[in-house]
């Protein structure tokens, strides 16, 4: 069991909403991915992957965020991040942040969210050009975070 699990969330049918998934797919093919990290290109329900988180030291979640930052910006957040919607916003779905809080109750791993700022989310299988053009830089940034965070976790073990 590898100590780090990276889960890319998103819906590839909804434009930039699928950026977490797209980045995860890039990571899977990237030779620079550390050997101690597993990567899943998932759907939009983080809770579904609970079974794959057992025994990990760190779970890194990649997800889209609509905010004022430039598209392609990657921000590091934990489950207590301020300013993000935490109220029950959806009738039958809970946000990645809520899911991280719930999962941390039952799984003894650390959870971290890498939020990727997007330009738009609408019907369509392509990322917007503003996010697509930034994809290599996003992957670079995410790889750097995984390397840094993972090394810290492995040192602690």
């Amino acid at each position: 069991m590898k100590p780090i699990l990276v889960v890319g969330l998103g819906n590839p049918l909804m434009g930039d909403d699928g950026v977490g998934c797209a980045v995860a797919e890039c990571l899977v093919r990237d030779p620079r991915l550390p050997e101690w990290a597993d990567v899943i290109a998932g759907g939009s329900d983080l809770l579904r992957y609970a079974g794959l988180m057992e025994g990990r030291r760190l779970v890194v979640v990649l997800d889209a965020i609509q905010d004022e930052a430039a598209p392609g910006t990657v921000a590091t957040l934990d489950e207590n991040a301020a300013g993000l919607e935490m109220r029950q916003e959806h009738a039958h779905h809970i946000s990645a942040l809520q899911a991280m809080r719930l999962l941390s109750m039952t799984i003894p791993a650390d959870f971290l969210l890498l939020a990727i700022s997007i330009a738009s989310a609408g019907i369509g299988t392509d990322l917007s050009s503003r996010v697509r053009d930034r994809l290599p830089a996003i992957v670079e940034k995410v790889l750097g975070e995984i390397e840094y965070l993972g090394a810290g976790k492995l040192q602690c073990s």
């Binding site: 939009s44 329900d45 039958h92």
Partner: protein, 430 residues
Amino acid sequence: MKAIVIEPLARVEGHGGITVELEGDSIAAVRFDVFEGARLLESLVRGKRYDEVAPVLSRICSICSAAHCLTSLKATEKAFEVTVSPQTERLRDLLFLGENIESHALHLFLLALPDYLNAPSATALAADRPELVQLGLRLKRLGNLIQETIGGRAIHPVNAVPGGFGKAPSTEQLTGLRTALLEGAKGSSAVVDIMASLPETDFCRANTVYAALNSPNQDSYYAGDKVVVFADGERTAVPAADYRTLTNEEPAPHSHAKHSSFRGKPFMVGSLARLTVNMRWLTAKLAIAAERLRLHLPSDSPMDNNKAQALELIGDLERALAVVEQLLDDGIEDERPVPVQPRAGTGTAITEAPRGLLIHSYTYDAEGTLVSADVITPTALNAASMETHFRRLVEQCPERTDGVLAQRLEMLARAYDPCISCSVHLMRKR
């Protein structure tokens, strides 16, 4: 004029929500708007090969991905007149059961319970009553495990293909599933205890028309080609191919989803409708549980959909175990999918997704290229019924303050377990 607007139901700004307009004691208007993403995704599959359709349309919803995938396959197979093996039918049944367990556990424990217990969210509830959230998460994971074992992965099943399954689960996998289900079934009594302890929420009483799949063996979410509509004690059967005589969709000027009605009346789909139409689903154990939950069928309270989901949840755990044991007793065959020969034609499939009837209807050309697709989700079918029930709730509410109305309307909306624009899930910074 006073307006109460509830928009937290939607993830897409400006799409979805409830608006109530009051003029003194009179109700000027009650409107429910729902964003219907599934309709827009139909355009993405036009022109695709038959084996590319299900993987795309399973992405309509992350919670109901197995239902969309299997309903899509069923429609394609009907268009090509393909008959799958009995083992495939059983495995598809099991996949549906897994999804229903997962979805109902999520809805009841993480979305509905916070409403009943005055917690603003599942995370807030988890702080006060961790045992409730942990039970919900355990049951949800059990549903996920079933889907992972049969569908090949936790979400958007890749193992389900036209004609069957790419790979049948092994005896070892099914044995592991049986062990997990036996363990999970121990949570059944707790589900009933918790639901029976909740306060009654009879703030909307209405004579309701129900519609549900009527499968040949009465207990399948997947098999069957006939819908039964239950209205005022009368049952009317509608064949799948005639689904438009059931839906009679009409544009609603204030809603992004069309409104459906049968013989001029909106109808409700989902767990409560399933139990009403298929009362024989109630085993002796479930009938006792229904008594404890004070659920009497047919019900005149749409809030009872939560109780019906609880009954289905414990019933599905038993049914899933029975299917797994049957598969083990018969011996699992390492069979390949039935060969699929494309032909020009139309196929319509109706199944029961966790939140109600799901319709996929496709037309293919002779080469197996999709010419047209019609996907009607349970939430779209429920839209007119929800709006009617919101109005009844406002009419019957003795205290029409903003806070009371908003809380009750949100609870009723959530009891329907709607899927509103769930194809988008992103976070938003305020």
